[in-house]
């Protein structure tokens, strides 16, 4: 689903490199949590996979025809924007050429957000906002979903709902998930693989191996 060969990236096209000589192969159907310290290049890797950044050297590519993306919550402080949840989802569906009415209804049902179709996006709680972003990412039947810190800024109950939803999407629909995680407990509980980034280099392993190697459990 995702292949990176000697992937190297620098925001200045010269050292220091945010990512250096990464080789990565993620098969379809995996749920991969990308972990590492602040500044280790997690979000940069996601932006490279999405095509928002271009590699300085090496390559990265995906076989997914459609990618759903849920960015960090702090990117979305548009409380003043006059837009309802339904308007946002239908507009997005029309842009990507999906059936706006059906796809919006399906995404709202899957995320349990039907009652909020006419609510303004700026008036939603943290958990509801996150579910709305997940609903948007699900439109167009993506094969790959990319999350940037899905639990940041939302309460425990909403976190449980969001992770339950991600597991359901991954297992029942076979959608590949890559999630940048600061929440190690969630990463260990939900993922099939953990990708650990440190100093621009990466290491992939199972949650059990990660616990032994990095958490000394």
């Amino acid at each position: 689903m995702i292949v990176a060969n000697q992937l190297t990236f620098s925001y200045t096209d010269s050292p220091p490199y945010a990512l250096q000589n990464l080789d990565l192969h993620i098969a379809a159907g995996e749920y991969v949590s990308v972990v590492g310290d602040n500044g280790s290049g997690k979000s940069t890797l996601m932006r490279l996979i999405l095509g928002l950044l271009k590699p300085t050297r090496g390559t990265v590519g995906t076989s997914a025809k459609r990618i759903g993306y849920v960015p960090q919550r702090s990117d979305y402080a548009r409380h003043d924007f006059p837009l309802t949840v339904g308007e946002m989802l239908r507009s997005y569906a029309r842009i990507i050429g999906a059936d706006a009415k059906r796809e919006t209804a399906d995404a709202l049902a899957l995320t349990g957000m039907q009652a909020h179709e006419r609510s303004l996006v700026g008036g939603l709680s943290g958990g509801e906002s996150q579910k709305t972003r997940v609903a948007r990412a699900l439109i167009g039947s993506p094969e790959l979903l990319i999350f940037d810190e899905p639990s940041t800024g939302i309460d425990r109950a909403s976190q449980d709902e969001i992770y339950g939803l991600l597991r359901q999407i991954n297992r029942e629909r076979g959608i590949t998930i890559i999630s940048v995680e600061h929440n190690l407990t969630a990463a260990m509980a939900n993922s099939t693989l953990i990708y650990h980034l440190h100093g621009g280099h990466g290491h992939i392993c199972t949650p059990e191996q990660y616990a032994k190697e990095f958490l000394r459990v």
């Binding site: 548009r78 924007f81 837009l83 308007e87 997005y92 842009i95 006419r118």
Partner: protein, 270 residues
């Protein structure tokens, strides 16, 4: 008052402005670009001066020069990564060009009319050209509605969805240039940016979805411009200033009505 041809032309152009300005203004306000109206209205002034100095049509000159300046703002914004600085550079260019050409003299145009707006300067030709620009802009807006909305709401998500955001921003600048060139003759350079922002600001107070906000922006804009036009005729003053004053009054009324409604609801609960 509408027995005079110049008033009928002014009314027609005013209605065109009332529809076009908020349709563009809603995206400018939501993208936090409100001040672009100020810079591009000066570009429009320079365009009119430039066009008249070579014997061209004022509206066509205003549109072409304003569109070029809009594209220049977008180019500078993406290269120097500072929208305020890009606006300042283009504003300096436009004011410099306008002042230089107008101060040379020999132009058959009232500078006061351009700065404050005038009903007398609107010709039938201007009206037809304004109608053509408005129709083309509204049609483009209808065709690009979803993309315009998403680029304003979340540029990155729009890019991931396949919208060519950079090219799109240039198209948007041309639409903004069309609205400004059409509006400048009636409302004038000095208050033009208020026509783009104030009806939208009033509609935003309603706290509704995007389509409802857009419709109410147009309704408030029609009220502002028609009231400004009729009052300015009766008081024998420039329409631009009165239109701006009416826009502020309508915005304040909407805020007052909203607060009164909130207080009543709170009272009912107690």
């Amino acid at each position: 008052m509408f027995e005079f041809e110049f008033m009928r032309n002014a009314l027609a152009v005013s209605l065109i402005i009332a529809v076009l300005c908020p349709c563009i203004g809603v995206f400018l306000v939501l993208r936090r670009y409100s001040m672009i109206g100020d810079t591009l209205s000066h570009a429009s002034l320079a365009g009119i001066a430039l066009s008249l100095s070579v014997g061209g049509t004022p509206l066509a000159g205003a549109f072409v020069f304003t569109a070029l300046c809009g594209a220049l703002i977008e180019y500078l914004r993406s290269h120097i990564k500072n929208a305020d600085l890009a606006l300042s550079v283009v504003l300096a260019l436009c004011v410099g060009a306008a002042v230089t050409i107008i101060s040379r003299g020999g132009l058959n145009v009232s500078v006061e009319g351009l700065m404050f707006g005038s009903m007398l300067t609107v010709t039938r030709g201007d009206t037809l050209l304004a109608l053509a620009l408005c129709a083309a802009s509204v049609l483009t807006l209808i065709l690009l509605y979803d993309k315009m909305l998403f680029v304003a709401y979340d540029e990155e998500a729009a890019q991931i969805a396949g919208v060519r955001v950079k090219a799109f921003n240039y198209v948007f600048m041309v639409l903004t240039a069309a609205a400004i060139s059409v509006a400048i003759r009636v409302v004038g350079v000095l208050v033009l940016s208020s026509m783009l922002a104030l009806p939208v600001a009033a509609a935003l107070q309603l706290g509704r979805g995007f389509k409802v906000t857009l419709v109410f922006s147009v309704i408030f804009s029609v009220i502002d411009i028609l009231a400004g036009l009729i009052l300015s005729y009766n008081l024998n003053v420039a329409p631009g200033g009165l239109t701006a004053l009416v826009s502020v009054a309508v915005l304040l009324l909407v805020i007052l009505a909203k607060n009164a409604n909130k207080a009543m609801k709170r009272g009912k609960r107690i």
